[in-house]
């Protein structure tokens, strides 16, 4: 709940992706003239990207929130109360989910107003929101893990460029089959971010694509499981240490 009371956290998570969407959808509209481009609207194509950026903000927000609790000693005090550390983590993740839903709603509304297409209709929108929630939890867990391991908000913030690189070296700006540079296409193919984006993108452009959805949800679920395991292990280590 704390997340919602901090407009300083929500506003960049909404404004920054929307600005890039506005710039890119307009600036790269002509890229849809390329042969084999899957849609005539670059806006529709690019609308999947903000969800990914939103997930990155989820890492940063939950991570720095927890790191602050560690830095101020709040986590230590908590360990003296019956409230368990995992309750704190769930609370933070709950905040991330709420933020994820708010973000998804805003992105979709902006997309709708700007004229993006929604090939899979209203059920598709619901699936997108569900995936956005799962991603918020999964990436939130990564943020928690980083915070627990480093115990420093600055260190968590310092990871931002790394995630940024993952985002950029994906099929974010062009479909994979249209990426001309070989090594870039290779990297994008092995980059899980590509499949998360492509799952959302398939619902917007094509309709129901089982393979894309399975890959997207599967990866998001895998990230969540791995993230949760890592975070709870790191929590146990930290609780023992303190």
């Amino acid at each position: 709940m704390r997340t919602l009371r901090q407009p300083a956290q929500i506003v960049p998570a909404l404004i920054f992706p929307m600005f890039l969407l506005a710039v890119n959808s307009s600036g790269l509209q002509r890229a849809t003239d390329l042969p084999h481009f899957p849609t005539r609207s670059y806006l529709t194509f690019a609308l999947a990207i903000p969800f990914m950026q939103g997930a990155l903000f989820s890492v940063m927000n939950t991570g720095t929130d927890l790191a602050r609790d560690i830095e101020t000693g709040f986590l230590n005090r908590l360990s003296l109360t019956p409230l368990t550390g995992s309750a704190l983590l769930s609370g933070l993740l709950g905040g991330a989910v709420v933020l994820g839903i708010v973000q998804a709603a805003v992105y979709l509304t902006v997309g709708l107003i700007a004229g993006a297409s929604f090939a899979a209709g209203v059920p598709g929108v619901l699936v997108i929101v569900a995936l956005a929630m799962l991603m918020a939890v999964g990436f939130g867990c990564i943020g928690l893990f980083l915070a627990l391991r480093t115990g420093s908000g600055e260190a968590v913030q310092g990871m931002f460029p790394v995630f940024f690189v993952f985002l950029f070296l994906s099929s974010m700006s062009l479909p994979r089959n249209l990426i001309q540079t070989d090594w870039f296409r290779e990297v994008a193919t092995y980059n899980p971010v590509s499949y998360l984006i492509e799952a959302i993108r398939s619902l917007l452009i094509k309709g129901w694509d089982g393979q894309a959805l399975a890959l997207g949800f599967g990866l998001a679920a895998a990230i969540t499981v791995v993230g949760m395991l890592a975070a709870s292990r790191a929590l146990r280590t930290r609780m023992v240490r303190t």
């Binding site: 042969p35 950029f168 249209l178 990426i179």
Partner: protein
Amino acid sequence: MSSFRATALGITWRTLHNFLGNPALLLPSLVFPLFFFTAFAGGLSTVSHVPGFDFRSGYTAFQFVFVLIQSAAFGGVFTGFGIARDFETGLGRRFMLAARHRSAIVAGYALAAAGRWLFTALVLTVVALVAGMQIDGGGVDLFGLYGLALIMNLAAALWAAGVALRIRSIQGGPLMQIPVFLVLFMAPVYLPLHLLTGWIHVVASVNPATALLAAGRGFISGQPADVALAFLAAAGLALLFSIWARGGMRRAERAG
């Protein structure tokens, strides 16, 4: 005048000394431009097949110009971060005390911004050449390209200095960075102006950065275009922000 030069050179030396000796400052200013260059030139090269894309030196050179000018602008902004930090830690006061003429302090930082950008530009250029960038412009053209970027670097440094001297805290960082970011990205980044559509075309048409990019790309392809306009725009910005930075120094003096 010699005391002006002494102050400026002292600050330039110290800023560059720290920049080159401290990986935490040096690496980001190299890694970010190289990354943007890789992501844009590598990832988007197909965009050059868009019907109507008529830049003759290829997409790598097209993006190189953007990243070069972007690195110049951000080199200036990062110098502003340094000014803000120095005034936050009290080092600024030491400079204010030692300087006979305090505008020399800003001049020193601006000179350091140019120095650090030239270093970034050198690395970026070498990487671009290794990556097979095609250059069709001659020596004079390239001189024009780097000169234009250097003026842009100066303008950005003066802008950021004006903010830093008013706020005197690293909290002012976003305020220095975001406007520069907006101006650079609301320009023909991925495609030339005539291939932009919608609102971005409207905004880019009046954005001074558009003239800079067009002239820079003209230089590298050996077909200079909009040269006078670009130099006028860059020099105009530098002049405007020198007044802004001067005002910032007055504010810093009044606040102690």
